[in-house]
Amino acid sequence: MKRRDVLLAGAGGLALPAYLSLTSEGALAQGAGRTLLLAAPGTPEGFDGDALRPGTQETVVQVYEGLTRYGRVERNGRTYLNPAEIEGHLAERWRVSDDGLKYVFTLRQGVKSPYGNELTAADVEWSWAKSFDQKRTGAFIANVSNVTAVKALSPREVEFTLSAPSSIFLSALTLYVPGIYDSTEVKKHATPEDPWALRWMETNTAGFGAYHLRSIRAGEQAEFVANPNYFGRKPHFERVIYRAVPSGASRTTLLRSGQVQWIDRPTVQQVLDMQRDRRVKVEDVAGRAMASVRMNCAMRPFDDVRVRRAMNYATNKEALKQGVFLGTGDIAKSIIPPIVGGYDPSFFSYDHDPAKARALLAEAGFPNGFEIDLLFSNIWWWEEAMAVQLSDQLKAVGINCKPQRITGSDLRARGAPARQDMAFFTFEDGPIVLDPVYTLQLLARSNGVSNRAKYANPALDALIDRARTNPDKAVQAASVKEAQKIWMEDAPWVMTVYPQTFEAMAPNITGWVPHPDEHERWVDLKVG
């Protein structure tokens, strides 16, 4: 052996133990104490709830809380939101005028932001004015709940004026947008060019919620700490480290090895793998959205309702549930998902029946079927498998369907209200307000922002409007029921499955409460 080789071996012998001692962090999450370690695909791209970005929504819900909130119910040892019960949150109580057009909220006393400023009616007025001015998500929520003006009456009283009575309004106030900001703090960072301090909000938060942002290193890590002045129960986790780990495979490895306690957005395949692993806890809940294939009702051949019904009969939903969703989720039987009150599956009549589908196609003038491109993207993990398997099923009734991939942004752009120029495409939509009228308004009304394929039925629009503006609960319920019936008969979507929602966490994490926006609330979580 040469002298050089001996030296090399010696250096290697010394370096390896030294390196191992550097890397032996063990399971980080076990020693993290009151810190929650979370791996997500990226860091938030800003903290303005009105300008939602992919990573924004997950974190603004931790910072900005609503004037109202859903009640909670215990079922089988788990806590769920109860959409039938709305209770005060940042607001203590409210009174409504007889005509249902004025609501006056009395704010809870002693609600403070991390900056030490107490919540006032001026904060609520300023926050809604911001959303009205930005004309984005908050303005949309204001619009669907008929809110036209928000005014501070006194430091603790704020008045909302509605253009018509709204069955959605109190539910809509549970949302984080329009977020309620500590306007005293935010105004310090406003400039004449940027009156709402949106630039400051790119890297700062100022809410009255359980957490606030301490620091962010873009693309790497965000750190949140508990609001020391939070009015509610003190959160178990005093600190949350939100680490960007773009690879889904890496995120699951980190959870399995105890490096993090929570991961965002695992795929179903990863979830099924993790369910067999004792080092991971997987919890699930019925989904709030429907995986569907949309048919453009203004384009041939889908302008004929018989063709749309035939498509639904030709679809083997159970096979899609098994083949695409790997046996998870529930077969979709209404435009309103089961977690929303008013869900009525009784009008569903599209069991798999290829013979009936062929007969309907023949009746519509397509005895030999037709050719169609099925557009799909990669926004949702199930799209490609769905496009391929549905195309195969449609062959049985003579429809030659060719799956064609487009980009996610293209799919969204072409389904937007101004365009809606795709004939046949995959999409997943669902409500973030647990209200049947909101769901119908969003997905089924002719001007609904998630009606992406020109479905329009004036009778249905009238029913939605009646339910939305009539304060009588019985009238609302009857209208919602009738609307589901009409929608089912019109069959504008190929209905498939409500995909299950999963969360994957360390085995010692408890307290997860499912929310309709599919984001956990860190304030709910604890160890043990």
Partner: protein, 339 residues
Amino acid sequence: MRAIGGFLARRALLLVPLLVAVSFLCFMLVRLGGQDPVAMLAGPTATAAEIEMIRGNLALDQPLWAQFLAWLGEVARGDLGRSWVSNRPVLTELLDRAPATLELLLYGVAIGALVGIPVGLKAARRPDGMFDQASRFLSLLGFSTPTYWLGLMALFVFFYLLGWAPPGMGRISLMVEPPPRITGSYMWDALLAGNQEAFASAASQLVLPVLCVAVISAAPIVKQTRAIALEVLASDYIRYARAQGLPPRELRRMVLRNSMVPVVTFVGTELAGLVGTTALIEYVFAWGGLGQFGLNAIIQGDFAVVQGYVLALALFSVIVFVVVDLLVMLLEPRAGARA
């Protein structure tokens, strides 16, 4: 020195049209790629009017040539625009992340070259011998291993199964506060700040991704060095030197010296070419560098960032080639004289 000065001046002059051409190609490819970021920016509840408003704000309603000229004018003033997703200046975003990528790339390619060049030279000494066969097999393996898979496997084996490496979650442990920024490299900044804990964490996080880049870069370097050395060994002057009875040690020095020019050129090409590949390593190890940023921007249709990213890559390649040319001039005085 004057020759070098003249050479650099000519290169700098060439740089401008080159970067404009690259920018133009990139701009057009991005715009004509069919992606529409407006819908994503507008969010799921946007109305047609809002979508049009955002399109107008981003000047996407202008003709393509007007958009390009406006962008070029801003770039000439040192403004690469703002990310449409984060709204932060693209230049700041790129500068923030560049040290992370450079660190990965430079260490990786340096290790790849330090291993690859001697192995290639040794393999060429006895073509088809045991060492040559083994090195060719390993080189082929390195060539044919997909980068993404290599990163995942490295993590699976060295972190998950063996516990020898830290988790692939960025440049520093979750529980360690990064040092104040001086160079942008956590390892060097921690060293400068005298923060032992941060230094240890940053250094250990570097090992696995750097080794992945080293494996990817070493494979072609071995192959290329071997081929170059074989050519040199078959040359008349080596045959003559051998016939003169020059000792093997001197002979090896001669082969090394004569192989260096093409080998250095090749390593430079590798360095420039690997910037793109490193993006996948960054993605797997959550590195937060330029590559991961660029990849994400491509997926999200963040045009301003994609353009800035491609421009940065082009500039990096140009700088690498200038350095390579300077090294060649030092190694090969005739090249200097020609320049």
